[in-house]
């Protein structure tokens, strides 16, 4: 990990980011109530690390991920990617940003278009970013499918999502995310819909991919144990606030915030038997 200067330390930085959603309280009242999904959060993700964002549903963890890939825009505050503020990005510069930042979604049954073959799905980012020629794209897709453990890659080319298992679909989703070799990937609960034995294999795969490509990863999860297994550093988010950031080991061993302590206490485990 390069920590040359504190200025360059972060690949991604969120400064005072707030995200509010309007929710109308009553049917006939005009005044719209605002719900703060994120309340002025500061967050820095270092080059080449796996950063865990742990929180329960409604804590704002998914919103954070969506802001980073620019599926949504913050109400206030600024997000920097490689020192560049991303709120101003438009047109070709936004498109270039999109090739550097990718996302893996939670539900592998919803994240693949049922009408597109695996090859078409994985190739789409290459086509829209006009990367390579049709021939090299083919090669790239096969290579990427094999990288994510779909062997042999050619065998999956003309298959459709409904012909794959949940684990295989999520591998396809990972292939789509890494085919452009982005610098930064947001993985939003990538295994919460999958069986434990499948999930653990995907964790291993994500770790390998991060090593091979030198990517930076934001790993969003509700599972503290999974975050500890995967991540270098972990932030705990609760009600739109980051309550604690620390290295993965320290946050489990020496939690400071009462919420973190509570979260650790209720993690299911084998304390009843072991």
């Amino acid at each position: 990990m390069e920590k040359a200067e504190s200025k360059n330390r972060f690949l991604v930085e969120m400064r005072q980011v707030t995200k509010a959603y309007a929710s109308r309280k009553k049917l006939f009242s005009r005044s719209s109530q605002q719900v703060l999904a994120l309340n002025s959060i500061d967050l820095g993700i270092e080059h080449g690390e796996i950063f865990g964002l742990v929180g329960q549903s409604g804590s704002g963890k998914t919103t954070t991920g969506r802001l980073l890939v620019k599926l949504e825009s913050p109400t206030a505050g600024e997000i920097f990617f490689d020192q560049t503020p991303i709120s101003q990005l438009k047109g070709s510069r936004l498109k270039a940003y999109r090739s550097r930042v990718q996302m893996i979604f939670q539900d592998p049954y919803q994240s693949l278009n049922p009408h597109l073959s695996i090859a078409e799905t994985v190739m789409e980012p290459l086509i829209v970013q006009k990367a390579g020629t049709p021939d090299t794209r083919m090669e790239k897709v096969i290579h990427t499918l094999e990288t994510v453990g779909l062997l042999p890659g050619k065998a999956f080319f003309n298959r459709y999502p409904h012909q794959l298992s949940g684990g295989q679909r999520q591998r396809v989703a990972i292939a789509r995310a890494i085919v452009l070799e982005p610098q930064f990937i947001v993985a939003d609960e990538p295994t919460s819909m999958l069986d434990a034995t499948i999930a653990i294999q995907l964790f291993k795969l994500l770790g390998q991919i991060k090593e091979t490509f030198g990517m930076t990863l934001l790993f969003i999860t509700h599972n503290l144990a999974a975050a500890r297994y995967m991540c270098d550093r972990i932030a705990v988010i609760h009600d739109g606030h980051i309550v604690e950031v620390n290295t993965a080991d320290n946050i489990i061993r020496h939690p400071e915030h009462p919420y973190t302590k509570k979260l650790i206490k209720v993690q299911p485990g084998f304390k009843y038997t072991r």
Binding site: L71, K95, S117, E124, V128, Q129
Partner: protein, 298 residues
């Protein structure tokens, strides 16, 4: 590359469809009418006397009942009723399918654009749809007809299409809305895909089956509107159709004298619209997996 998937899916859907009693009946009735429509091209070739419009049997001066030369009888100027019935089937298909097709194309496009863009564009397009939807289409057609005289058949098709797209666009819009935030669309956005690409590549294939379903219902209403117009005397006078036949029965005062002339076109209108309706209902079942009895849980 999409073909293989569509073929297998189509085959699967077809199986569900044809196993459904409604679907089966609909397809059989439709098949009969298709044969009739095709036959209408050949009948005048046998003998010019069997031309539905101009073929007058020189031996007949009055409307006569069924016989050997005219299986279903003739009208009051000696034209063959069966030949007219066959010609009517062809016209019903042409009017029904083309009016339905145009209204579906307009409705799908507007629905996808409204649903995907949201905001002002959505509000504007949907208000127009609302306005058209509450217009009584038959009354509008009658007013137009009385202003401009009798219509050419294609103008009728065009007007039906214009009046009947809003319901389709409403359905397609809500489908688009539910698709818009699906992760696979968002994944495409994150990859940098343009709006046009997202609509054509990701949304359209997912709404087309629904559009197709609505087309069968539109066919029904188009056939009925055309028949009603013709019967009321606003149809295309140079074109035989079932509605026109009914109009002739009535005008020539044979309403209660010649059941052999009155019943066939009326029956045909009912049966063909029924067939399309049954087709639509069966297709509904194909498209809505919740209606299918299949399930497995872990």
């Amino acid at each position: 590359m999409q073909n293989k998937y569509f073929v297998s899916r189509f085959y699967k859907s077809w199986r569900i469809f044809i196993e459904n009693p409604l679907g089966k009946t609909g397809v059989i009735i439709l098949g009969v009418f298709m044969i009739m429509a095709v036959a209408s091209f050949f009948v005048p070739l046998i003998n010019p006397m069997y031309d539905p419009m101009t073929g007058i049997d020189p031996d007949i001066k009055l409307s006569t009942g069924p016989g050997l030369t005219h299986w279903l009888g003739t009208d009051n100027v000696g034209r063959d009723i069966l030949a007219q019935l066959l010609e009517g089937a062809k016209v019903a298909f042409v009017v029904g399918l083309s009016a339905a097709f145009f209204s579906i194309v307009i409705g799908t496009l507007i629905g996808m654009i409204a649903g995907y863009s949201g905001g002002l564009v959505d509000a504007f397009l949907m208000r127009i749809a609302d306005i058209i939807m509450v217009l009584p289409s038959l009354v509008i057609l009658l007013i137009l007809a009385s202003l401009f005289g009798q219509f050419n058949i294609w103008i009728i098709v065009f007007i039906i299409a214009i009046l009947r797209w809003p319901a389709v666009s409403r359905v397609i819009r809500s489908q688009t809305l539910s698709l818009k935030h699906r992760p696979f669309i968002e994944a495409s956005r994150v990859a940098g895909a343009s709006h046009v690409r997202i609509v054509l590549r990701h949304i359209m294939p997912n709404v087309l089956p629904l559009a197709f379903l609505y087309m069968t219902f539109r066919v029904t209403s188009a056939i009925l509107v055309e028949a009603a117009l013709s019967f009321l005397g606003f149809g295309d006078p140079s074109q035989v159709s079932w509605g026109m036949m009914l109009q002739w029965v009535w005008k020539s005062g044979h309403m209660f004298q010649a059941p052999y002339w009155l019943i066939p076109p009326g029956l045909c209108i009912s049966l063909l619209t029924l067939a399309f309706y049954m087709l639509g209902r069966a297709m509904d079942e194909v498209l809505d997996p919740r209606l299918r009895k299949e399930g497995r849980s872990g």
